[in-house]
């Protein structure tokens, strides 16, 4: 069940608001300051449970203001915000805030407290016994990938990335249903940021929170978001859509401009490589005889891929020279995991390959087949066509707007963004049930390949 687009929403799905319903509903909210500046202008959004909703936009677009209105650090001038169906204005403010984890840029850790006491802050505020709070904090340290030996350290003894992990653990400590994240990863270097993003997707996979994530980085928004709200300066909503829809059909020139170049290429991240027609013919084992080799070679294939006896790729060889005993191999470059990696990864492999052919492998790294740039292009065309059909079906009366989520998102998620099956499950709408993350390591591998 994918959240509905506000434009196509007919009725707020009030009774539908179950596990996957909208946990936070922002209704026509504005924030005007006495000096006349408008930070947020009549914004309506729904943040569904068990999904990541990203607010993205240039500075001054009111994204942080929006986030802070949800935990009432800023009060809206008009409109209302519902949490699980109840108006947040009616709730005691500190209790409300304790029910929402908050992660901020630079982590905002309490520098005078140890890591474990930082994480235990909210449980302690909620009146937990010290021992219980610390046990919970230790559990969370493990969850966010911090070594237990860091428990007694002070924030100054941690790197930026580690501090941010503590920040995330602290936000999760009391197991709040909602996580508000205000540019949490923008102050760390790109490599660490990537790691933290991976980690967030993994944690989300395990915990299934309603996450509202603010960033100015559109790539981060596309990587993390189940849906992305693009805001323009002046606090107006420009577009609210899943990331692939954003890339393929930006609502207006502002959104297109904000998305930047390479929209088409980046959109390929949301197509699975499973639709690719892999050719197993030009693949030979290293111990193949000249006769076997000759059988494989066709005039239009100047190269064959030589594998070891287990099927792992070794390199490209020219058939004629190989047969004469000139055992030189051209490096095969990068590989993509067939069915899990996206078409973007496959295309990248094909472009980078010295022979112009991408090498597809299975989960174990054995070669499944090779694909030419032309066949990748064919797969891209097919995927686009398939999506067009889905969009038409979705728009057709009777099917309803909600249909968008069902078949399409599965393909979109598979291997997309390197999140592996985690991403697939999440996008398929089964996010919550998909328990552990088998193969999230493979997902990370795919990431590296990308």
């Amino acid at each position: 069940m994918t959240p509905t687009h506000p434009a196509t929403r007919t009725n707020p799905p009030r009774q539908d608001r179950g596990v996957f319903g909208a946990l936070i509903v922002i209704e026509d909210v504005s924030k005007r300051y006495p000096d006349g500046t408008v930070a947020v202008d009549r914004l309506s959004l729904e943040v569904p449970d068990r999904s990541i909703t990203v607010l993205v936009g240039p500075s001054g677009c009111g994204k942080t203001t929006t986030l802070r209105m949800i935990n009432r650090m800023i009060e809206p001038s008009s409109g209302r915000i519902l949490l699980d169906g109840a108006d947040i204005q009616q709730q005691p403010v500190n209790a409300l805030r304790r029910s929402m984890g908050y992660v901020i840029q630079n982590a905002g850790l309490f520098q005078h407290r140890t890591v474990i006491d930082n994480i235990a802050t909210v449980p302690r505020l909620l009146g937990w016994h010290r021992q219980r709070a610390r046990a919970r904090a230790a559990e969370l340290m493990e969850r966010v990938g911090l070594d237990a030996s860091m428990a007694k350290r002070y924030p100054y003894q941690l790197s930026g990335g580690q501090q941010q992990r503590v920040g995330v653990a602290r936000a999760l400590a009391a197991d709040p249903p909602v996580l508000l994240m205000d540019e949490p990863f923008s102050a760390v270097d790109p490599v660490v940021r990537r790691g933290l993003q991976e980690e967030l997707l993994r944690i989300q996979e395990e915990l299934g929170k309603a996450i509202l994530f603010v960033t100015h980085d559109i790539d981060e928004a596309i990587r993390l978001g189940d849906q992305v709200a693009v805001l323009r300066t002046g606090g107006r909503l420009a577009q609210f859509a899943p990331p692939d829809e954003l890339l393929s059909s930006p609502a207006d020139p502002f959104v297109a401009d904000f998305l930047g170049a390479d929209r088409g290429i980046r959109g390929l991240s949301f197509f699975t490589s499973a639709g690719l027609n892999l050719d197993p013919a030009p693949v030979v084992a290293v111990d193949a005889t000249a006769k076997q080799m000759a059988k494989r070679v066709t005039p239009d294939v100047p190269y064959v891929l030589v594998t070891d006896v287990d099927g792992k790729p070794l390199g490209w060889a020219e058939p004629a020279r190989w047969a004469e005993g000139g055992k030189t191999l051209t490096p095969y470059g990068q590989t993509f995991e067939f069915g899990r990696d996206s078409l973007r990864v496959a295309l990248d492999c094909a472009v980078l390959s010295p022979t112009g052919w991408a090498v597809g492998v299975d989960r174990t790294g054995s070669v499944v087949g090779v694909a030419s740039q032309e066949s990748v292009a064919t797969a891209i065309r097919a995927a686009h066509a398939e999506r067009a059909v889905r969009a038409r079906d979705a728009a057709a009366p009777g099917t309803g707007a909600r249909g968008t989520g069902a078949p399409g998102t599965g393909a979109r998620g598979t291997g997309a963004r390197g999140a592996g099956p985690a991403g697939a499950a999440r996008r398929g709408g089964a996010g919550g049930e998909a328990g552990g993350a088998p193969g999230s390591a493979a997902g990370a591998g795919a990431e590296a390949a990308q």
Partner: protein, 253 residues
């Protein structure tokens, strides 16, 4: 060193007795000053407009000579320790108020925001987050106030032997025993240095969370800042923590 520890009988104190008296007369005002400065500083943090007038008042108070205070106070509190301690307490405010205000203000915005977002109320936030983080800056102020107070106590000799070790200065003149003046000056200086060292130690014990580099930086800042009389030395993060009123150390009784 003959006579260094031999106190004239009119002082009615042994050398150690004078030391104890001196400490009491100098430290109680600093403590009282701290008790006044904490709420005043918090008000200044809360209401920004209050800070300039408060600074102005503390500076003016500091500019009033102690003799003038004595003349006024002597009608109410007589020739007593209290008469000496009241101006000392008021003087300490000129250092303590800005130290605390700057310390609390130097708490990073995101730390404050995180505290608010976690549902920590204003009182608890002040006591559990802002004050602890301001401890280095507060201690920097306390050190200046303490040392300055220890040296200023001597002025109490002017109102009839209420200056503890300062009384020795008067006696040195009366009895033509310069060694008493030496004793007074050296003992006072040693007391000031010891008190300062104790405060440094206390701050270290209270702030295990400070990076060692920050301490080194703070030391460097102090070394450079002493001449200008800046009550710096606490927090390297708060660039303006040391921008308190300048003349704190320049005052002579």
């Amino acid at each position: 060193m003959n006579g260094f520890f031999d106190m004239p009988s009119d002082l009615q104190h042994t050398w150690l007795g004078l030391v104890g008296w001196h400490l009491q007369e100098s430290l109680v005002p600093v403590l009282a000053g701290l008790l006044v400065a904490l709420p005043v500083a918090q008000l200044c943090v809360r209401f920004n407009w209050l800070y300039p007038p408060v600074l102005w008042i503390t500076t003016v108070l500091y500019a009033v000579p102690s003799l003038a205070f004595f003349v006024v106070l002597i009608d109410y509190t007589g020739q007593s320790q209290t008469t000496v301690m009241i101006p000392l307490a008021l003087y300490s405010l000129v250092v303590l108020v800005p130290a605390i205000v700057d310390g609390v203000r130097s708490v990073p915005a995101e730390t404050n925001a995180a505290a608010v977002a976690m549902g920590i109320g204003p009182v608890r936030r002040y006591l559990r987050v802002q004050l602890p983080i301001a401890v280095p800056a507060i201690f920097a102020g306390l050190r200046v106030a303490t040392v300055s107070s220890i040296s200023l106590v001597s002025v109490g000799a002017l109102i009839g032997n209420q200056g503890a070790l300062g009384n020795l200065l008067a006696d040195a003149m009366f009895y033509h025993r310069p060694i008493l003046a030496v004793s007074s000056v050296v003992t006072t200086a040693v007391l000031a240095i010891l008190a300062d060292a104790l405060l440094v130690l206390a701050r270290r014990l209270l702030t295990p969370w400070q990076p060692p580099g920050a301490r080194a930086a703070a030391r460097a800042a102090r070394r450079g800042g002493r001449g200008a009389g800046r009550p710096s030395g606490g927090r390297p993060h708060s660039r303006d923590a040391g921008e308190g009123p300048a003349p704190a150390l320049e005052r002579v009784p």
